[in-house]
């Protein structure tokens, strides 16, 4: 394996991270929060130092990625990035325990939004900004950002396809345009434009600028770190509705927006995944609203809360406008199912992904038909195109890995002795990058009660969920580290 090349690449990612810590430090400086300024100073120093050492030791190597290097590189960069990104929390004294700080930043980068903090309102502004910004960066992916700004995708290193595949969610990642750099730039441009529109809409609702920016970051990355203890509940109904719409928008495959941009409306609205995603959202909202009759004062309020919670859970954001832990069992069951479904492939959301679910259902239908007509030749189609057998195989393998990891983590987390609902929803919530679960990890509670070991298990779950399992799983495989 080409360790030097990987080292150089991780170094570059850290440099990007260090640059992004600077605005957070400036905000702290502006707000005269000197403890967090010190925290960010140490964070930046450490990150730059590690990046410098990596650059020094890994000079002059060929820039070629093969499947294995690509996957390992993505897994390692996310871990190293999180290890260093936790330093500001720790050094500023906001979250003194390093494991807790690590949990918090991983939860940020993976756009989970699960917190170990009981109250967030008394955190320094700079720290709050860094927490929310980690969502934004993690949402589209820091490697994709690197591909957009560097010339790594040029000339003989067309090998960057593995990086895009490893970091972008979905069963079948492709380019939008022939050039990797342009593809990455288009994705980030769409992302930035949507975020800015979101901020503008929030500002129209009289939200303070800082709150608007942080909330927009949380929405864009489908993360869910709020800057208020009650998440979004304290804001006006207008702001809650804006959040609902934008959460749903960020849960759509970004290639749909590209199709919109090049005026291929038909192809966009014929997209099976988009239809399924919207269908699930509307269906669940209606069902929950029916189930909640009499729970809130008016029908409008019921619908607003139902739609907000459905959007928040299916896009794996994890904001809350109400304590849905108090809802009746059927509504909670729907939310639990939505946790697993997740957003669309190619969006910033997590979870199993609608597109994958569609493929699993279709291949299941094929297997059932095969029992009845063993001789019948059947091809699974998606959007009218035959789906490659390899993709189906990978999807089924993904389902298996998904189930096994959920099961094992559930067992490990249960050692702490909390209730089954708490543990199961905590694992699902972290693994699918949502944030809140039920009971002890419900929307009004936090993950602080878990032991350090359970937190580490949940950290691995979050990373595995965000990077779609394989880049993390491959780090634990012996054949990765042996010579070919």
């Amino acid at each position: 394996m080409n360790y030097k090349m990987m080292g150089r690449f991780v170094g570059r990612i850290l440099l990007v991270e260090a640059v992004f810590m600077v605005p957070a430090m400036l905000i702290s400086l502006w707000e005269k929060e000197y403890a967090s300024v010190r925290g960010f100073f140490w964070g930046i120093t450490a990150t730059v130092a590690v990046a410098g050492l990596l650059a020094l030791f890994c000079r002059g190597v060929k820039n070629k990625f093969y499947a294995r290097e690509g996957l390992v590189c993505v897994g390692l960069s996310w871990i190293v990035m999180s290890l260093l990104g936790a330093i500001p929390f720790c050094a500023s004294g906001a979250i003194p325990d390093y494991i807790d700080a690590f949990f918090e930043i991983v939860s940020g980068f993976t756009t989970t939004g699960a917190s170990i903090l009981p109250t967030v309102e008394d955190l320094p502004k700079g720290i709050l900004y860094w927490r929310s910004f980690s969502h934004w960066l993690g949402g589209m992916g820091v490697l994709v950002f690197l591909l957009a700004i560097t010339s790594a995708g040029r000339n003989d290193s067309g090998y960057t396809m593995h990086l895009l595949r490893a970091e972008s969610p979905g069963p079948n990642v492709g380019k939008l345009v022939p050039r990797m750099r342009q593809t990455a730039s288009i994705l980030y441009l769409l992302y930035i434009v949507l975020t800015v529109i979101n901020i503008i809409f929030l500002l129209i609702g009289r939200m303070p600028l800082f709150d608007a920016v942080c909330t927009a970051f949380g929405t864009a990355g489908t993360g869910g770190f709020g800057i208020k203890n009650d998440s979004i509940a304290g804001y006006s109904p207008y702001i809650q509705n804006v959040c609902t719409v934008f959460m749903l928008l960020f849960g759509v495959n970004f290639s749909c927006y590209y199709l919109l941009l090049i005026r291929q409306f038909k192809r966009m609205f014929r997209d099976e995944e988009l239809r399924m995603y919207l269908g699930i959202v509307v269906g669940s909202t209606v069902l929950i609203a029916l189930n909640l009759r009499g729970f809130y004062g008016t029908l409008g309020e019921t619908l607003r809360h139902a739609a907000f919670q459905v959007a928040s859970i299916i896009t794996t954001t994890g904001f809350a406008t109400t304590d849905f832990d108090l809802w009746p069992g059927f509504s909670k069951a729907i939310l639990l199912c939505l946790m697993v479904v997740g957003a669309s492939a190619g969006s910033t959301g997590g979870g199993f992904k609608c597109g994958r679910l569609l493929l699993v259902i279709k291949s299941l239908r094929r297997s059932v038909r095969r029992v009845v007509h063993p001789q019948r030749v059947q091809v699974v189609r998606s959007n009218g195109q035959p789906v490659d057998e390899k993709i189906l195989q990978n999807t089924n393998a993904y389902l298996a890995a998904y189930a096994i990891i959920t099961g094992v983590s559930f067992l490990l987390v249960s050692i702490d002795g909390f209730s089954i609902t708490t543990n199961f929803s905590a694992v699902l919530s972290c693994f699918n990058n949502i944030g809140p679960g039920f009971e002890m990890v419900g929307p009004t509670c936090n993950y602080g009660a878990y032991s350090a070991f359970s937190k580490l298990v949940l950290i691995v779950d979050m990373l595995a969920g965000r990077l779609e399992i394989f880049p993390i799983l491959i780090l634990f495989s012996r054949s990765t580290w042996t010579r070919r």
């Binding site: 067309g158 090998y159 396809m161 593995h162 345009v177 050039r179």
Partner: protein, 452 residues
Amino acid sequence: MKIIIAGDGKLGSVLARQLSAEDNDMTLIDYNPRVLESSEERYDVMVVQGNCASMEVLLQAGVKEANLLIAVTGVDEINLLCCMTAHGLNPEIHTIARVRNPEYADQIYEMRNMFALSMSVNPERQAATEIERLLKYPGFLKRDTFTKGRVEIVELRIDEDSKLCNVALNDMNSVVKCQILVCTVLRNGTAVTPNGNFVLREGDRIFVTAPTDSLTVLLKNLGIITHKVKQVILCGGGRVSFYLAKLLQNSGINVQIIEENEERCNQLAALLPSACITQGDASSQFLLESQGISDCDALVAMTGLDELNIIISLYGVSCGVPQVITKLGHMDNTNILGSLSLGSVISPKELCCNTIVRYVRAMKNQTGAALTVHTIADGQAEAMEFLVDHNTLHCGKALKSLRLKKGVLVACIIRGERREIPNGDSCFNSGDTVIIVTDSGKGIYQLNDIFE
């Protein structure tokens, strides 16, 4: 520039690599998802799976915005249909089709008009022409052409008894008595740009710029015995062999083809009445000897297997055949072949790729990129052809008054019919074509790059 390549085979993937490295937006179309996957991983390209002649697939590949379509699938008819469909969808598009069936070879000029092709390529025929050119002037190790074959850079070896041995370049004109310029000398493995006082020694390999029609004079005056090739053995009876045999027949050379497949032998015998077709295994030394390898003038190894071709050539060289030519199909690892004495090496794929790349560069030439690039002197130097246009600096100034970068040599100035080997008083004007020779890796992409 936006380019679509239909057919991701050997040629398609080489083109994808070369053209995407030259900053073009490439889209590949192929039926086979496996090859597409590997191309997508290796090069910065987009891929579309499907039939390249279908409108839907072409539209998906962005034919409406594309500037050029290159159809290089394995089937001529699909290539033609693909170009025609693309042209129907986007009348502005340039199209290049690979057509290699010998039955179409004679009507290709008419077909170009009928199918609205900008260019058609036939790698096998091109390789045959290239081999024939080498066989015609057996003294040269390599010939690279510029300005559509009117000027060449040829490679010569200085032997002990050569008339040029121990001659300074200033005195060379009295020996060769024609307009030539020695642009690079390869001595002991390093390339040197010589000046007038440079004295040639035994074992040097020199690269000479000369107008094509003075090559015969050059050979005669150098006293290189052009033992005219009379007897050639071709190992392998593929399409290149067929084209080559036809060309050689026309120049009255005896051709002997050794081919293993009996059916193909019969076909060739019917198509080539005056050639001698032998059925048998060309790698068998007994067969080669019985066919008179020891007294033939040239041996061309062009079976379908590169390994076999190399073995045959090595055997030919060891038997003392004066000229040995090896055809290589895959050519991904030519650098490891340098130490083997294979004679001249020809790769149809590479030749064809160069032709297409040249066309692309010419299309882009509004920016002043090189029209033709040949690497010479074992890759240590490059010879490039540029068009002088109104953007070019220092037009009409004498060369001696210009400050050129170190290691840059103006090798030839072509103005209409005149081909001038420049001296200090020469100058170039808008509309001329110039040939520049430089050390490799100088980063010269435009004509203006040569000035300090």
